[in-house]
């Protein structure tokens, strides 16, 4: 394993994704484009798995803590959340149930009970 190779590749694809997203004014987040680029590079053999796997695993494993700062921003929207609580939580629960059950039942039907 060579130090910095993995980080350079991951940040490189991230920057490339952000660049494409803003230069072409796309509504797809640059990070998702970067993921697609890296996936394509892995599948095409331009990037070898062991060049990036340690760094990528470290990012994925430690991702949870990164959700906290954006989530804390909710502090500015407590009023909004209170005034629209029925809409927000109603939609959350109903959408959860519909998506879970319809997806499961459809796929099961499609597979014809293969287990």
């Amino acid at each position: 394993m060579r130090p910095y190779r993995g980080l350079a590749i991951i940040f490189g694809f991230y920057a490339l994704g952000e660049f494409t997203s803003s230069a072409l004014n796309l509504s797809i987040p640059g990070s998702v484009l970067g993921m697609l680029y890296l996936l394509a590079a892995l599948l095409g053999g331009a990037v070898k798995l062991d060049w990036v796997e340690n760094e990528a695993e470290a990012f994925v494993r430690n991702m949870s803590v990164m959700f906290v700062p954006p989530g804390v921003g909710i502090v500015a929207y407590i009023g909004l959340l209170k005034s629209q609580a029925v809409s927000v939580f109603g939609a959350l629960i109903i959408s959860f149930l519909i998506t879970l059950l319809v997806t499961a039942k459809t796929v099961e039907l499609l597979r014809g009970g293969k287990g």
Partner: protein, 224 residues
């Protein structure tokens, strides 16, 4: 740059992770508990979100390369994709679309404002990608983050039980439904019962993130 925001986040998150390690239940989810405690602290003390974010923004920034890194687990699952590509494609097309439509229309029916509709639409996608989508679409990323985590917690708490009650036994169907609906937290739960369903769930989560970020902008144009 003051160091308080990032320090507070890491210390609080570490403390709740320790708790979660000892009591592994959905209501000890360290992400949600950390958000609640830090938001309550800012609210009570009057310390501004801007001062908090001065250094905490570093953690948020790292979501970018973290999303790029999701390519590695997807690449590793290429054999699973090759075997079950039909089911996966159908599950993501149906589940991904339905998650957006049902959240958007129910929220609208219940009187949600446009910001709320845009923020709730990507709620079934993995948090990092959902925040990115919400930002791009003009939603409130903070609200999206919280709703995504709550959706995950719901799946983690009752998803498997609901699938059991509905009589869904097919392992691929169970994995796909959990991953598409409740992303990482749903995946973590079903992985405890079934390794194959867990692998499919993790894959469904990543692919649904890609699918939703491609579909949602165009779908919203029609819905609005």
């Amino acid at each position: 740059m003051n160091p308080y925001g990032i320090t507070l986040t890491l210390v609080v998150f570490y403390a709740f992770s320790e708790l979660h390690g000892r009591r592994r239940t959905f209501y000890t989810n360290p992400v949600l508990l950390s958000i609640i405690v830090i938001a309550a602290f800012l609210w009570a003390s009057g310390y501004s979100y801007e001062s908090y974010m001065e250094s905490a923004v570093i953690l948020k920034f790292l979501l970018g390369p973290a999303v790029v890194s999701l390519a590695v687990p997807v690449y590793r699952s290429r054999k699973v994709i090759a075997t079950y590509w039909k089911e996966i494609a159908a599950g993501i097309a149906i589940g991904g679309t339905l998650a957006i439509l049902s959240a958007f229309y129910t929220a609208r029916l219940l009187g949600g404002s446009e910001e709320v509709l845009l923020s709730i639409a990507p709620k079934s996608v993995t948090t990092a990608i959902a925040i990115g989508i919400s930002e791009k679409m003009g939603g409130i990323p903070a609200l999206t983050a919280v709703l995504v985590i709550l959706t995950g917690i719901l799946g983690n708490a009752v998803g498997v039980e609901i699938l059991d009650a509905a009589g869904v036994r097919d392992r691929i169907a169970r994995g796909l439904a959990m991953g598409v609906t409740s992303h990482g937290l749903g995946t973590a739960r079903i992985l405890l019962d079934d390794e194959l369903a867990g692998a499919v769930s993790g894959l469904a989560m990543a692919l649904n993130g890609i699918f939703t970020s491609l579909l949602l902008p165009y779908l919203l144009e029609i819905l609005k």
